[in-house]
């Protein structure tokens, strides 16, 4: 098997044994990227020299051979997470030439674990989108069908991992931006509980919803990555000072006796028939493995998209106010400062970002605040309570990740509302702040496209989520399927 096709745990074994050096692992990926990224365009920025220099330093220090969790493993980073000295454009023209001046908390963690910071992956501008078509630098292609989108907003990270251009990648998930592209590209995408992973260094889209998580080739790697990323950070007041379990250790405990909740609101008319069938088959498989299935209800599901697009845009309207041309990023000179703001932001932001800033500004305006933002916050509480109640009767909830498989490039770009509905099954999770993972559970027949299964857990119970996902994954062969490129 070629080096680039390995999982992290397989690669780590070779590195530890000295069969492979960090340089060789990095070079293998660089070769793979060289071979296929021209078609996929998953990466926005890559510095082979720098990556190899990092690898050499790790080889010299012996880190690759010791017990460090990621010693010598190259990792790709979504272009929204700061890596000191690397560009961080958020796929936006307004940050075209911006270079990070500090490391995000998760990047410090990766460095401490011995990882190599390989390069920057494509995304929807400021993580706003579900297809990566909103990138200012061009769309990333789905490795299973180059005419189709990889999902979004972390489409570059998902495509890179699915196409063996990265052993793992970091993404961010505000309304499904890790799980949906993972489903559409056929890899494993984990959104940890809000507060589990520090957001320090993640360029904010919607602060109360954003969470960083990993894309990996299998669930074991996801557990390993979370172990590295999770933990309290005093620079993020919303990160939780709770101990981090050894997620890998509990992976093999099986699902016998676990109660799996099936929310009736997530198995709806209009869902892709093949998606529906694949998810139902997966549930059957979990039952065969000893899990118990219980019917549950999440009655406020219908309001999730509306609530999300009020809260997320309101927060975004403030978060994106700092891009004004005064201190960093692009600047378009104006007659006075107000003119400069208008011209800079007018030229710097793409249409979807502008749409959301306007929506959010409106939702917070005097006279509308109570009807929109405040009401949305109240319904958000109801949605969270839905999950709390549901989890009284089950240990995890299983749903499809997305109502459909990867759609064609350009198919939904003219209809923002249709695009927003791509996240219908993922959005509630962010509103409730709970954790969830998406993993492959089948393929459509023609064209052959991956289908994602979503496993949701109680707050800070990533252990059970990963355990269920791992059990299912090991009992099936889906993970072994690779796109032919």
């Amino acid at each position: 098997m070629s080096l680039h096709a390995l999982t992290i745990h397989e690669l780590r074994e070779k590195l530890r044994g000295g069969d492979v050096s960090a340089r060789e692992a990095t070079q293998a990926l660089l070769d793979r990227i060289q071979a296929v990224d021209g078609k996929l365009k998953a990466y926005l920025w890559l510095n082979a020299e720098d990556a190899l220099a990092q690898a050499d330093a790790i080889d010299r220090s012996g880190i690759a051979k010791n017990g460090k969790l990621l010693g010598g493993v190259p990792i790709a980073i979504k272009d929204v997470i700061n890596v000191d000295g690397q560009p961080c454009t958020c796929a936006s023209k307004i940050l075209k030439r911006h270079t990070s001046v500090y490391d995000a908390f998760v990047v410090q963690r990766l460095r401490e674990a011995g990882a190599i910071l390989l390069g920057r992956t494509n995304m929807d501008e400021f993580a706003m989108g579900s297809s990566t078509e909103n990138s200012s630098w061009g769309v990333t292609r789905n490795p299973w069908d180059l005419e189709r989108i990889p999902g979004g907003s972390s489409g570059g990270s998902a495509a890179a991992v699915a196409a063996d251009e990265a052993f793992a990648a970091l993404g961010s998930d505000t309304g499904g931006s890790i799980r949906q592209p993972a489903a559409l590209c056929g890899c494993v995408g984990l959104k940890p509980t809000y507060g589990r992973v520090s957001r320090y260094g993640l360029v904010a889209f919607a602060s109360s919803l954003d969470q960083i998580g990993p894309f990996t080739k299998d669930v074991a790697d996801s557990a390993l990555m979370l172990r590295v990323l999770a933990g309290h950070d005093r620079c993020d007041s919303t990160s939780v000072p709770q101990s981090v379990p050894d997620y890998t250790a509990t992976l093999g405990q099986g699902v016998k006796g676990l109660r799996i909740g099936l929310p009736k609101e997530y198995f709806i008319d209009g869902m892709d028939r093949e998606v529906d069938a694949a998810v139902r088959a997966a549930i059957k498989k979990l039952q065969d493995l000893g899990a118990e299935v219980v019917a549950i209800s999440l009655p406020h599901t219908d309001y999730a998209v509306a609530v999300y697009y009020l809260i997320a845009t309101a927060e975004a309207s403030a978060n994106l106010a700092r891009f004004d041309g005064v201190r960093y990023g692009a600047r378009v000179v104006g007659e006075d400062v107000i003119d400069m703001y208008g011209k800079t932001r007018g030229a710097g932001f793409g249409p979807e970002v502008k749409r959301r800033i306007i929506l959010g500004t409106y939702a917070l305006s005097a006279g509308y605040y109570d009807a929109y933002y405040l009401r949305a916050q109240k319904v958000r509480t109801l949605i969270r309570q839905d999950f709390e109640k549901a989890f009284e009767n089950c240990d995890v909830i299983v749903t499809p990740t997305s109502p459909e498989v990867a759609f064609r490039i350009g198919e939904k770009t003219d209809d923002p509302l249709k695009m927003y509905l791509s996240d219908i099954f993922t959005i509630s999770v962010n509103l409730a702040g709970i954790c969830g993972v998406s993993l492959p559970c089948g393929f459509t027949k023609s064209p052959r496209l991956p289908i994602g299964l979503q496993v949701l857990g109680k707050p800070f119970d990533e252990e059970t989520v990963l355990r269920v996902a791992h059990m299912y994954e090991q009992a099936t062969e889906w993970r072994k399927q690779r796109p032919s490129l």
């Binding site: 929204v80 961080c88 320090y200 007041s237 309207s317 403030a318 960093y328 605040y369």
Partner: protein, 476 residues
């Protein structure tokens, strides 16, 4: 018709914390532009704020000092507006749940009566940067951006410019005594905006409100209000309308002028700050802060009068600054004559400090050294006159009183034997004065006394000299 003014003040105070409100940068004033900055206070992409607990504690302490209800649950909000001095184009502030609600500051009126000026609320926020304008370009200095800033909003309880002056003076004393802020207006540590309107006496409804900005001293506030009240009265008397507007005070011309005529209906789009947790204030924390409550200036003044036997005026001078009062007390505790200490502090020390442009903290003469000097005078080892010379030397060199006296050989001569020599010499040299005295002109003895002091180079004990002189003149 009789008119009265209605005044409310909005005061912004920079808190005396080591670091900024939401990052670790120093709050030091006067550094090179943009040297106390980091990604957080520059609003770089991806950064998050972390609350400065000391700033919260200082705000709670302020609340306790002015009798506010300290919130047990408070939160942060984003106030949205675009301006180049705002790194994030939103300010983290407190909107509907401030740390302190209600309270009052007691002021003393000219007739000796006191009056309570209500405080509506006090909340915490982050200061903005400073815009600098050059010939063709502008710059922003972000050193100040993120400094903890407390906003104290008064009720419209003031009726005269003097009320406002007294309120600000009293508030400043409270803030200094609590170690909350140094309140140096020149450094922008205390800033004040005034709202003032005028109405016929007896009328309940307020008149049209005018906001005044750009007042850089407390007396500037008084002058600006006095001017503005007269301007509004004159307008009303002429039958004109006062329009709601913002006016700028010009200290040089002593006038206010229109800054903005239309009150823009600012929509700050406040919403809860998702990056920070709400502030939960425990009973334990309140109890802890209560222990730190300083004596209020007025109570301290009364205690000084009683405990140290000081005149009201002197006590007032000493308590005007908490550090000065502390300096005085340290010296007074070490002295048998606290009244004398007060005289030295309020005249010599403050005079010398003003001359040297130094604050009391920078005084080269320490409280212990001043107490020592006073005790040297008390015990008759040096005269009061020599004392002033010794003090000047101490102030210049930082040396102790005894050391200066010893080095300069300034010990007072109280030995009768050596003094008799000087007295005899003075009598021998001034026969006319001797004759005058004996002829009944008692004042002539003062001239002779002066001559003895001169011969002793000021070191003779004046009381002893008087005694010896009298004995010699009357006896001889």
């Amino acid at each position: 018709m009789q008119y009265e003014a209605v005044i409310g003040l909005e005061v912004h105070v920079q808190l005396k914390t080591k670091s900024k409100m939401f990052c670790g940068c120093a709050t030091e004033f006067g550094a090179e532009p943009n040297t106390h900055v980091c990604p957080v206070c520059l609003g770089y992409p991806g950064v998050l704020p972390v609350m400065n607990e000391d700033a919260v504690r200082k705000t709670i302490l302020t609340g306790l000092m002015i009798g506010s209800d300290v919130a047990r649950f408070s939160k942060w909000d984003r106030k949205n507006y675009f301006y180049p001095d705002m790194p994030k184009n939103y300010q983290i502030s407190q909107y509907d749940l401030p740390l302190c609600v209600r309270g009052a500051v007691e002021i003393k009126l000219e007739d000796g009566q006191t009056k309570k000026i209500g405080v509506t609320r006090a909340h915490l926020e982050e200061d903005v940067a400073k815009n600098l304008h050059f010939e063709t370009t502008s710059g922003v200095d972000f050193n100040r951006a993120g400094t903890p800033l407390m906003e104290i909003v008064s009720e419209p309880d003031m009726r005269t410019a003097e009320d406002a002056f007294a309120y600000l003076t009293a508030l400043k004393e409270i803030l200094i005594s609590g170690g909350i802020s140094d309140c140096d207006m020149e450094k922008g540590q205390l800033r004040c905006d005034s709202n003032v309107s005028v109405r016929p006496v007896g009328q309940k409804a307020f008149g049209e409100k005018v906001e005044i900005k750009n007042m850089n001293t407390i007396s500037g506030v008084r002058r600006a209000l006095a001017y503005e009240i007269e301007r509004q009265k004159a307008a009303l008397q002429k039958g004109e309308k006062v329009s709601q507007e913002t006016r700028r005070w010009d200290d040089a011309t002593g006038k206010t002028s229109v800054m903005r005529t239309k009150e823009y209906a600012h929509d700050y789009r406040y919403f809860p700050e998702p990056d920070l947790m709400p502030v939960v204030v425990s009973e334990d924390m309140i109890a802890e802060m209560r222990k730190l409550l300083p004596e209020l200036p007025e109570a301290k003044r009364q205690r000084f009068v009683k405990q140290y036997g000081l005149p009201e005026y002197d006590a007032g001078v000493l308590v005007a600054s908490a550090t000065l009062a502390a300096f005085y007390e340290r010296a007074a505790e070490r002295s048998k004559n606290p009244k004398a200490i007060s005289n030295w502090v309020t005249t010599e020390l403050l005079g010398k400090l003003a001359e040297a442009k130094k604050t009391i903290d920078e005084s080269p003469v320490k409280p212990e050294q001043l107490a020592e000097l006073v005790s040297l005078i008390e015990s008759g080892q040096i005269s009061g006159k020599i004392g002033k010379e010794v003090f000047a030397e101490m102030f210049g060199s930082g040396k102790g009183a005894s050391m200066v006296v010893k080095e300069k050989g300034m010990v007072q001569v109280s030995d009768a034997g050596s003094l008799e020599g000087f007295v005899e010499e003075a009598i021998a040299r001034n026969p006319k004065s001797v004759a005058d005295f004996r002829a009944g002109n008692e004042a002539a003895i003062n001239f002779l006394k002066g001559q003895v002091m001169k011969l002793s180079k000021g070191k003779a004990n004046p009381q002893l000299v008087g005694e010896i002189l009298l004995r010699k003149l009357e006896g001889g």
